[in-house]
């Protein structure tokens, strides 16, 4: 099973984060630069994947919204196994 690590601290803003996450997850990344478009593509994941979401330090408020995106994804897409990285 594929495992992808996403470290929220690596991003400066939401646009950069969405685009990089799309790249990491091999999503159709044309124009993914905001949350709705990212959410739409994430829901299309059809192969089992483990996504490790990490946050090491304090991050900008706008990036915190991504946590909610992945929580929703985990609830709504059975192919996604969300785990939280520590430190």
């Amino acid at each position: 099973m594929n495992k992808v690590r996403i470290t929220l601290d690596d991003y400066r803003n939401l646009e950069e984060a969405c685009s990089n996450i799309a790249l990491k997850l091999d999503l159709e990344n044309d124009g993914i630069n905001d949350i709705p478009s990212l959410q739409e593509q994430l829901m299309k994941i059809s192969e089992d994947i483990v996504i490790e979401l990490r946050q090491i330090n304090t991050i900008p408020d706008e990036l915190l919204r991504l946590q909610r995106v992945f929580e929703d994804l985990q609830q709504n897409n059975d192919h996604v196994y969300l785990i939280r990285g520590i430190g």
């Binding site: 609830q75 196994y81 785990i83 939280r84």
Partner: protein
């Protein structure tokens, strides 16, 4: 008079750290210091007042003797008014002493029992915070003994020993002062007997201690044997083990008898020996007192007073030595109680727990490393991802550690490293109560308590209506059975629930799980201890229950194993293979052999 043993064996143990234990006792006394100190003060006052009694009594004798002499010489007679005055004073002194003693008893028993109450409460709360590993390494009897015997010893001791110690100390000083006030010569003679008494007491205590220890040890063995034989008496009978059990009991009981009579005989010697020495001193004092009275150095009544003081002088000394002995066992009991209370607790729930309301039932094991002992890991870097509604069968020979995964999922034990996630939330970030409310358990060793069937079923969901309970029972195929009982859902289950069979108990726990409606299930399939008809009902009930829920099944049925989405194969506590039935059969490893050994014959039946 308190015996050195207090009639309880656990009290003979010596504390490892006497001073440390006493400090802790002082700490628990702190909230009641006012009452406790007042109790000690009243004890001291009571003793101080009563110490004067013999001297006043001597004055009566002196007055009678003087009056008698005056009458003989024809110069007067006995002054009854004065005697009445002295008697009144004596009554007042003893009444006052008794009143203070009453206040002391009231205060000290209140304080000691409040401490007992709070210690038991604290220990009861502690038991919920202890990790399960503590119970793996400590015998239940030992824990129970700390709850009952040790707390009781502590309470009794606080109630009696400390005040007795102080009272007797004051009594010794008081007697000494009164004796010196009568005659220093007689006092000197009387004091010669004290070191002799002390030497005898030390000699006896030293020899009896080792037997007391042996008695304690033997008592523990006898108790353990009785408890074991009583709780498993059906098994003992079934395997014709009565003779063997009786022989073992005879042996343990004999060892207890030997140590008990020796220890009690030796400790029983203490009193007659010290009394004998005391009587020698008493004789000496009588002779010297008579001589001094003849020389008119002391009054006649003073001899009587002094003899009373002498006779009673060794008594508080004996009691002090006994109190010190009891204090040792109190400190040992306190040490055991505090050792329990100071045990390292399970990691507390997260202060910011994640609380997901709806649970899908997705379970992820991520790089899980675990061992019951830190240096001996049995699960090495195990990862597994379970989709909502999937079934994971856990198989392996008896004693392979199939319940380990279950215990980890319920967070009964902490992982060495790695994490378990339920719907993406690390179970360490959840409150234990939330986690356990998401997971339902149906075990073979079904747990039911004393109460009605309805109450037992509602344990799964307190607010469930009667109709919901009945619906759950129908789904679990146990409704019919309950209706065959005279009182139906109001049937009382006994303390040991022996009035229903093992299989019926399991059906009830299936119904309880239906009622709780958890998204994740832990099931332990029935084995041969259940009759065939009930087994079929249990299987049906479990199959119904598993529908749409993520299930971890300690599997014994071939159909469960074959239909499972994943099989965890365990051996010697370790996960040796993971996969589905086909994958594992192709691998021709441990599962392949296990399957062939256990299920090959069942294939046709299936």
């Amino acid at each position: 008079m308190p015996s050195p043993m207090h009639g309880r064996g656990s009290s003979v143990q010596k504390p490892k750290d006497f001073k440390g234990s006493l400090k802790k006792i002082v700490r628990i006394l702190a909230p009641y210091k006012f009452s406790f100190i007042l109790g000690l003060i009243t004890a001291v006052i009571s003793v101080v007042i009563s110490v004067v009694g013999p001297k006043i009594m001597g004055n009566i004798i002196t007055e009678i003797a003087n009056g008698f002499m005056a009458k003989v010489q024809g110069t007067g007679g006995i002054d009854f008014d004065k005697i009445f005055e002295i008697v009144s004073l004596l009554c007042a002194v003893y009444a006052l002493s008794a009143a203070f003693e009453y206040v002391q008893g009231f205060l000290m028993s209140g304080v000691s029992n409040k401490i007992g109450y709070s210690l038991r409460k604290e220990m009861n709360q502690k038991i919920d915070r202890l990790p399960l590993s503590y119970f793996d390494t400590h015998a239940h009897g030992d824990i129970l003994s700390r709850f009952t015997n040790d707390v009781d010893t502590l309470v009794q001791s606080l109630n009696q020993t400390l005040s007795s110690l102080l009272s007797n100390f004051v009594r010794v000083i008081g007697f000494l002062v009164m004796m010196l006030s009568i005659s220093w010569k007689m006092t000197l003679l009387a004091l010669v007997i004290v070191p002799m008494s002390i030497v005898v007491v030390m000699f006896v205590v030293k020899r009896s201690q080792s037997y007391f220890k042996q008695q304690q040890k033997s008592l523990g063995v006898v108790n353990g044997h009785i408890e074991e034989m009583y709780s498993a008496h059906i098994i003992v009978k079934a395997f014709n083990g009565e003779k063997q059990s009786m022989q073992a009991f005879e042996q343990y009981n004999h060892a207890l008898y030997q140590s008990a009579w020796k220890s009690q005989f030796l400790s029983g010697l203490m009193m007659p020996l010290t009394q004998f020495i005391g009587n020698l001193g008493y004789v000496g004092v009588c002779i010297l007192g008579g001589y001094l009275a003849m020389r008119q150095e002391i009054a006649l009544g003073d001899i009587q007073s002094f003899i009373t003081y002498t006779r009673n002088f060794t008594q508080p000394i004996n009691q002090i030595s006994q109190s010190i002995n009891t204090l040792q066992s109190t400190a040992a009991a306190a040490e055991r109680v505090f050792e329990f209370l100071d045990q390292e607790e399970q990691i507390p729930d997260s202060t910011t727990p994640v609380c997901a309301n709806a649970t899908k039932g997705q379970v992820s094991f991520e790089n899980v490393v675990f061992g019951y002992e830190p240096e001996k890991t049995i699960i090495h870097n195990f990862s597994m991802y379970v989709k909502p509604g999937q079934t994971v069968a856990i198989v392996g020979p008896t004693g392979a550690g199939k319940t380990t995964i279950v215990k980890l999922l319920m967070r009964f034990y902490e992982l060495n490293s790695g994490a378990i996630y339920i719907d993406g939330v690390n179970i360490k970030d959840m409150k234990r109560s939330d986690l356990r409310s998401k997971v339902g358990m149906v075990l073979q060793d079904a747990w039911l308590f004393e109460g009605t069937i309805m109450e037992n079923l509602r344990f799964g969901k307190q607010k469930a209506s009667d109709q919901q309970v009945i619906e759950a029972c129908k789904l679990a195929h146990v409704d019919h059975f309950i209706h065959t009982l005279e009182h139906g859902y109001q049937t009382m289950l006994g303390n040991d629930t022996s009035n229903i069979s093992q299989g019926q108990k399991q059906l009830l726990t299936i119904a309880r799980a239906f009622l709780a409606d958890p998204s994740i299930l832990i099931l332990d399939e029935a084995t041969s201890s259940v009759d065939t008809r009930t087994e079929i009902l249990i299987e049906k009930g479990m199959d119904e229950l598993m529908k749409g829920r993520t299930s971890f099944v300690i599997a014994h049925r071939l159909s469960t194993i074959k239909n499972a989405d994943a099989i965890l194969v365990m051996d010697h506590g370790d996960i040796v293979e993971v996969g589905n039935h086909d994958q594992l059969m192709k691998k021709q490893g441990f599962y392949y052999n296990l399957y062939n050994a256990q299920f090959e014959g069942d294939e046709g039946i299936e």
